[in-house]
Amino acid sequence: MTPRSAAMLRVISDPRPRPILPNAVLGTLIFVIAEMMMFAGLISALSIVKAGAVGWPPPGQPRLPVEATAFNTAVLLTSGVLLFVANRDYARDRKLARSPLFWAIGLGAFFVVFQGYEWVLLIRQGLTLASSNHGSFFYLIVGMHALHAIAGLTVLASAGFKLSKGLLKPSTFAATQVFWYFVVGLWPVLYYLVYL
């Protein structure tokens, strides 16, 4: 028996059941649940401080760019939709998934850069971490989300690189999607609570 046929026989006669969920996806789900609880804690603290404040945002503090961030929110949501399209194309033909995946990465990167630009403007206007509770919560919550967005973009870029080389495993792609959908899905909630 050749080594190749012996390996094939091992695969065919493998008594282990098919995994319910790949380890990469399960691990990412557990991580996302933990991160959701962290954001829930931050949101709770913000809600209680807001409820106890005389006025919110506090007088003398700059107003947040609601309209510009609404546009940026739409950009991030579009990135999530494009990742969904990439997943659908990946199931049909892996080469088709390249274009929507790279667009999803590009829009995600635009979101992060635009957020950074807004931060620069707000800091110039006097909203800093130490200027008020408003500034502290804004930079803490939005900054934590931005860190997650950068991490998500890194794994998306890694998935895009592997896809272009033909090395992307379905389980890796699924785990990447779970994380990016978390980043995309969380943002509208944060936008509503922090900006509006």
Partner: protein, 82 residues
Amino acid sequence: MISKKHTCALLISTSLVLVPRLAAACAVCFSGRSDEARVAFLATTVLLTGLPLLMIGSVVWWLIRRAREVRGDHPPVSPAID
């Protein structure tokens, strides 16, 4: 046998229950004096209690459905990602 020292400590700690403001036993109960703050405390308590149960429950429910799919007891409801 309970000593006098233990009885005394028990009486003091029990009597503090009667004067919670003095004992500052519950920071949450006394810091939110306005209605808005009370609602915020209630809503965040519900959020922080319910969210982990909801998330873990959803994952477990989905895993059970997926296990049934893999065994062939149930029609497929989600794409295969293995």
